[in-house]
């Protein structure tokens, strides 16, 4: 996979037949993995899915974002996986040992610097999966994300933590 995706922009005809090459490749791969064994027949079914599904769902992805660096995307996934493991332990301790009145639950507004909908979705999903935070709502102007924190001392600090740790990295991935 080229590291600079923008250099290999698909030509219009290719774009019509395979509007999302990465999505198509992922579908073929997932289909084969689901079968847990390789055969030519299953490969053909997978290829058919890889062509049909992206075309049927093309209207949901009118302007697909370009991933600038797959290496950074992979590093991001590993970072989030690690944070999820930590988050589980942290939330388990809160649930088991913290007296309820001492939980500092609060709503936090996270101002967004990202603007691609896909990037915002990735940021929101990350927030939901990680330590004591659930992303709940987007503002009408798309500039803020509403996050519910299970235990946060200071709203601004919590928002800045999320922005530093995740949004900054997503900005480098989605540009």
């Amino acid at each position: 996979m080229g590291r600079d995706a923008s250099a290999a922009l698909p030509r219009p005809s290719r774009r019509r037949w395979l509007p999302h090459p990465v999505l198509s490749a992922a579908l073929v791969l997932f289909w084969l993995l689901l079968q847990n064994e390789f055969s030519v027949g299953q490969l053909l079914v997978g290829l058919a899915l890889g062509v049909v599904v992206p075309r049927l769902t093309a209207m949901l992805w009118p302007a697909p974002p370009r991933i600038l660096s797959y290496r950074k995307a992979l590093a991001y996934v590993l970072l989030v996986a690690w944070d999820i493991a930590i988050a589980n332990v942290a939330v388990a301790r809160l649930v088991l040992f913290r007296p309820l009145p001492e939980l500092r639950m609060r709503w936090v507004r996270v101002p967004l610097d990202l603007d691609a909908p896909e990037a915002i979705a990735a940021f929101a999903a990350t927030i939901t999966l990680t330590p004591g935070t659930v992303s709940c709502e987007l503002s009408v102007d798309g500039r803020s994300l509403l996050v519910h924190c299970l235990d946060a001392g200071d709203a601004d600090e919590a928002a800045n933590d999320m922005k530093r740790r995740y949004e900054a990295r997503l900005k480098e991935i989605f540009g």
Binding site: R109, L129, V140, S144
Partner: protein
């Protein structure tokens, strides 16, 4: 299956079950919906992940070959958990939320409390047309 593999499988199952229990306990103990939403979205992901890891090791050790189904289940779980959590939270906001208790967000506020015409859909449409123009 040798003893070492049995121990590894047992540890993963016990860890997974513990997190599942903690997640369910949190669901019972925490006071209201938004707090309860935290317990199952976190503790359960590692709980299920751990049990699936045990399953992978078990099939490797008993000669069933490497199975990727478990990896796919974890992947799909992680893709869908945030979506369902967000839906529950938005349903809560629409039914019981009070905009005065939330931090302010721009001039038009949060999408849950906006009139239908100014909903998130319009933001998506606006952002899309902007992206197309950039191309």
């Amino acid at each position: 299956m040798n003893v070492f593999a049995e121990i590894v499988v047992a540890i993963f199952i016990v860890v997974g079950a513990s997190f599942g229990l903690v997640g369910s306990w949190g669901l019972l103990r925490l006071p209201h919906l938004m707090a309860r939403l935290h317990a199952p979205t976190k503790a359960t992901t590692l709980g299920v992940g751990s049990v699936l890891l045990a399953s992978t090791v078990f099939f490797l050790a008993t000669g069933g070959g490497f199975s990727v189904h478990e990896v796919l289940i974890v992947l799909f779980l992680f893709l869908t958990a945030p979506v369902s959590a967000s839906f529950v939270a938005r349903a809560y906001l629409r039914a019981h939320g009070d905009p005065a208790e939330l931090p302010r967000a721009g001039e038009q506020g949060w999408a849950s409390f906006a009139p239908r015409a100014g909903d998130v859909g319009d933001y998506m449409a606006a952002s899309t047309s902007r992206d197309v123009r950039e191309d």
